[in-house]
Symmetry: D2
Subunit: 131 residues, 4 copies
């Protein structure tokens, strides 16, 4: 499997905090989506919505430590499994040198015109393995 790790720096926003003083947990899926951008580009290099060809099937998040505003924040993403019609991205949220949350998302290769899943083409499969 690919060992490539995609790193994405996040600038936290005041509107992403909540009244507990921390980042609201609902923000983490937004940051993780943003951090998957280089992976989505392997599937859809133009990044146009008209040629979009993936769909999220499952999302799992583990919250390990409170998530703070304005700390140095980075999402690290890695393709951790590739199936016939889907693949898994494992993601870590780091603030300074602490791992504060982890996630796992299963994404399906999807033909929007046919409204059905499809086998991941070999060319993309190779990119996922050796980006």
């Amino acid at each position: 499997m690919s060992a490539a790790i995609f790193r994405c720096a996040i600038e936290t926003r005041t509107s992403e905090t909540n009244a507990t003083g921390h980042i609201d947990h609902t923000v983490i899926p937004v940051w993780f989506e943003l951090a998957r951008r280089p992976i989505y580009k392997l599937f859809n290099p133009s990044e146009e919505f008209s040629t979009w060809n993936t769909i999220i099937r499952k999302l799992e998040l583990d919250f390990l430590l409170p998530i703070h505003h304005r700390l140095r924040t980075e999402v690290r993403s890695q393709v951790s499994a590739i199936g016939n019609t889907s693949f898994t991205v494992t993601q870590e949220l780091w603030q300074e040198d602490r791992l504060v949350a982890t996630g796992r998302v299963i994404i399906v290769y999807f033909d929007y015109s046919m409204q059905m899943k499809a086998p991941i083409p070999e060319a993309i499969r190779e990119l996922l393995e050796f980006p």
Copy 2:
């Protein structure tokens, strides 16, 4: 002019607070957009995006008092002016019996296929005046 006031109850969300303990100011445009739904329906009864025919030109918000989570919250909206190609909606945000914010939005009647503004049809104009 129409005296019709459209009332929209808002259920505040935890993710809409920020670390000051209040509702983040960036949330108010979202609530005001939601509260304009009955006005948008006068323009586009199906509410389909494919037949959407308005576009926001200007938004002004005045913040009068801190906005709290979980108070009884209501937006009151009124069409306050109708021009040739645009109209103005004046909005108030009430929490319990206090007026906490006001807004004014100018919305243009817009032909998306031509990508240009157009005169508001007489039938819609009458609905705006006497909804």
Copy 3:
């Protein structure tokens, strides 16, 4: 275990759609959080942040069908397991008569002053079982 199902109607918002024309997947955790409000009230009847006593440990979401704007939308939530210091809420997202997403969230009873988890008090445990 409790069979109580908490139902929460959701009014979808335009800003919650994305350019694919559907509701963005990152919105579902926000709706599910809102729908857990009656469960949080069992733990913290005042709903004040100063007495907040739970923290989210894990969130799992399954996306089954595209989620649409402006359909009749309801979240159904149920306490499905109660452990010593944590409990599980199972949630379903319904649009009209279709189940479009499901979720499972593990929430820890948390002493914010001590910054540590604590056993769920017996009185709250009974409320969770027989709300």
Copy 4:
């Protein structure tokens, strides 16, 4: 007056688009808030919420052109007026070489412990003029 222009690059997010295919107008206040960070730091160098000392009084936005996902996006912010207890920030949203929106926000110097506005201290006033 200061001619200093604070530039803030924005990485647009998929969840910020809406079903029209463009960026939802409610996102612009979030980007503008983020872009004011260097100005807020003049008032509150630690950026701690416990020492926060400003409050938003008025926000005006003009939408000039559709705002697109994934174009090179920059907010340019400038302190355009300084009064006794408040100041004005004028902001521009650029995508590639097009000005797509402008904004003006009036921010009050606020003593949260006294819950009242206060004169902007001379030292901060000088920083606003010559950052």
